[in-house]
């Protein structure tokens, strides 16, 4: 097999790694949009807070002298999911619930305000500098010839694949099997009707925000360990990318968010690998415009019928 093929394979692997974390964040956007039809602009900041929580837990446990990798990972996931869930829940209570049922622009503007507030809150509390951590999971497999370009699949990438896969499976099981998941689907179908049938829609909406925030925390832990650097500003771009992924796949649809995340991740990795990494954001937003031009509701989105 030629060298070009290995190079291409490497870009695809990198793309799937980033894409699967985009998908995790995108699910938060898509579920909220599916149920109450608003863009939770502050979701990217929740992801950023999740990254900070992960660094706190990892640094704290390292100071206590714990070096069992499994224990570290479990503690980081558990604590940052708990913290971001609290954030997701409170954001909905404070900034969105009082605004429900009005003009569509009003909650969006409130969400932008919330996003600016959270970003600056973390900046003031933690400082705006980068915080770095040496990577915990090192090493990997190499495939291909030893003398020419070869493909590297790091253990960290494997961890990202596995954790993403587990989270998606748990989410799918929750949505399709549990009673609460059924209530979520009913609310996405018709929230007014669901309310009439005795579903506590307020509770469903809160749960949706909590699930979205928890998945954002998973992405936050994974990506902060993958890159090893965090700062208060990383939530904005990640949120924007994840939202692009959600729209690309068809907002409101969970498989769509996963598909959109993977497409976006692979597109970015290929652009960075073959052209220039500076323009990868340009290409991904360009792709969004292009897809919306031909499929205004995204790839897997349902066409929406406007009613008077």
């Amino acid at each position: 097999m030629s060298e070009q093929f290995y190079y291409f394979l490497q870009q695809i692997l990198n793309g799937v790694t980033i894409g699967s974390t985009y998908a995790l964040i995108a699910i938060g956007y898509t579920m909220v949009y599916g149920i109450i039809g608003m863009i939770n602009f502050a979701h990217g900041e929740v992801y950023m807070i999740g990254s900070y929580a992960a660094f706190f837990v990892l640094a704290g446990l390292a100071m206590l002298g714990i070096d069992s990798l499994v224990l570290l990972l479990i503690a980081a996931f558990a604590l940052s999911i708990m913290i971001t869930s609290a954030y997701g829940w409170s954001i909905e209570r404070v900034a969105y619930r009082p605004l429900r049922g009005g003009n569509r622009l009003i909650p969006l503007i409130s969400a932008i305000g919330m996003s600016i507030f959270l970003q600056n809150f973390v900046r003031l509390a933690q400082g705006s500098r980068d915080i770095a951590m040496p990577s915990l999971i090192t090493g990997g497999w190499t495939i291909g010839p030893a003398d020419a370009f070869n493909v590297t699949l790091s253990y960290m990438q494997v961890v990202i694949f596995v954790v993403t896969f587990i989270s998606m499976t748990v989410l799918t099981a929750f949505i399709s099997k549990s009673k609460m998941g059924r209530a979520c689907r009913a609310c996405a179908e018709d929230i007014g009707m669901a309310n009439l049938l005795g579903i506590n829609t307020n509770k469903v909406i809160s749960i949706t925000f909590v699930i979205g925030a928890a998945l954002a925390a998973v992405a936050g832990v994974l990506l902060s360990m993958y890159y090893g650097v965090i700062n208060p500003y990383l939530g904005f771009m990640a949120g924007l990318k994840a939202f692009t992924a959600a729209v690309l796949g068809g907002i409101g649809s969970i498989p769509g968010a996963v598909l959109g995340g993977l497409i976006l991740g692979i597109t970015e990795a290929i652009t960075a690998g073959y052209f220039s990494s500076e323009y990868k954001d340009v290409v991904s937003f360009g792709l969004l415009c292009f897809v919306l031009l031909f499929m205004p509701t995204g790839i897997l989105g349902k066409p929406e019928v406007e009613k008077v």
């Binding site: 706190f56 909650p107 969006l108 409130s110 919330m114 600016i116 507030f117 770095a132 954001d281 969004l288």
Partner: protein, 422 residues
């Protein structure tokens, strides 16, 4: 105050503690031997305690507090202050216009140099706010990438001036037209999308413009930007101490007065006043034309508009293009005032500030937008010692504004007829 409200308050304070204690109380620190957690200074810890106590008591006395607020709110919605429409009180509006114009013209001769300069900046934001008001307030299209058009205008003048030596007054219409062209080209594909999609695509567009400016180093100077952009001239008279070229004439030589750098500041200010007056005039005229009526009709009900034979795409596109043109004018003016531009000035936060001006003023209300632009530029200057907390307060203000007064500070009423029920 019952037992359940006490439990609620307790839960809320525990949540508050989870949210803030670790972020404010502790700090991550990169030390030579790896990442360490250190204790934050006492001030931050005090904030946690204050916050938790505050949340506990607001939750505990939620019922009486909300009763007070609901009183205020219902009053605000029924008979709260709203600006009368210009058609209802023409004399009042004529008087207000004359008074405002007189004030604007007297201002540079009574105020200090710094105050005049600040007023120029305010006028740029007024122009931007009025332009975005056309898109968001009148046509109801949420544009989060407005700063992209602002950047196009600024860089048009910057590049034309640096490479071709084009003067400000020649570049101004070109910048406006180019920004309008960008608006047209972007609007053409995306305006068929629904509101939320539009918001995110325009946000992406603004980011694309910024990234391009950052990376096209040969043309735009990359992150270093473009510096030494010429200031506006008065019919070819320059305001510098020394002429820039041999054939250039200087303002103070021409009139035979001593050189003073204040003339330049005052002239730039007066040019801004001229542009703002022109903007207000044009938008007011547009509003009474069929196209302006169509913008507002479209904002209220798109389906009804379509059934009456209006083409929504063309109407939206016209609003989008005209809004972009005003951003282009403001941008080239910004470049001329500053003399230096870089991609740093055109980040998303700038878009958010302009949007906040429109929202704070009351969407669609021109007087409201002008007042909000003044508040938003003067307040941060007044409270310089709180500069660090500026964006924090700004975010909070956007949230609370939406909760308590989503219609803005000075909403505008239109003359209307309504069917009486029963």
């Amino acid at each position: 105050m019952s037992k359940s409200s006490f439990i609620d308050a307790l839960i809320a304070s525990v949540v508050m503690l989870i949210l803030t204690s670790w972020l404010l109380g502790l700090q991550l620190d990169n030390q030579p031997d790896g990442l360490r957690i250190i204790l934050n200074d006492a001030a931050h810890t005090t904030w946690v305690i204050v916050g938790v106590i505050l949340v506990f008591f607001t939750q505990l006395f939620k019922a009486p507090i909300s009763r007070v607020f609901s009183g205020i709110k219902s009053k605000g919605q029924d008979s709260g202050f709203k600006l009368p429409a210009p058609e209802e009180k023409p004399t009042l509006y004529r008087f207000l216009t004359i008074a405002a114009l007189a004030g604007l013209l007297i201002w540079p001769f009574v105020a200090s140099r710094g105050a005049v300069d600040l007023a120029t900046l305010t006028l740029i934001y007024v122009m931007l706010g009025l332009g975005l008001n056309v898109v968001v307030g009148l046509a109801g299209l949420l544009d989060l990438g407005y700063v992209g058009f602002y950047a196009v205008g600024a860089y048009t003048y910057g590049i034309l001036n640096t490479y071709f030596g084009v003067g400000f007054w020649t570049a101004l219409p070109i910048a406006g037209c180019l920004a309008a062209l960008f608006g047209f080209l972007l609007g053409f594909p995306v305006l068929r999308l629904r509101g939320d999609y539009l918001a995110i695509v325009t946000l992406g567009f603004g980011e694309i413009i910024r990234i391009m400016l950052n990376n096209m180093t040969d043309l735009t100077g990359g992150p270093n930007g473009i510096s030494q952009i010429d200031k506006p001239t008065l019919f070819g008279l320059e305001f510098n101490r020394r002429p820039s070229s041999d054939e250039a004439t200087l303002f103070h030589d021409f009139f035979g007065i001593d050189y003073s750098s204040t003339y330049k500041v005052i002239f730039v200010y007066l040019a801004a006043v001229l542009l703002v007056v022109l903007t207000v005039f044009v938008i007011n005229r547009l509003l009474r034309m069929p196209i302006g009526r169509a913008w507002e009709a479209l904002r209220e009900d798109e389906i009804a508009c379509r059934s009456l034979g209006l083409n929504p795409t063309i109407i939206k596109l016209s609003a989008f293009t005209i809004g972009a043109a005003f951003a282009g004018f403001a941008g080239s003016f910004f470049a001329a005032r500053q003399g230096f531009i870089s991609p740093e000035s055109f980040t998303f936060i700038e878009s958010a500030i302009i949007l906040a001006i429109v929202v704070l003023g009351g969407m669609g209300s021109q007087i409201g937008v002008i007042l909000a632009a003044i508040i938003m530029t003067i307040l941060p200057e007044m409270a310089r010692e709180f500069n660090e907390y500026r964006m924090l307060m700004f975010g909070l203000m956007m949230v609370f504004m939406m909760i308590w007064r989503p219609q803005g500070l000075l909403p505008m009423t239109r003359p209307k007829m309504e069917m009486r029920n029963g």
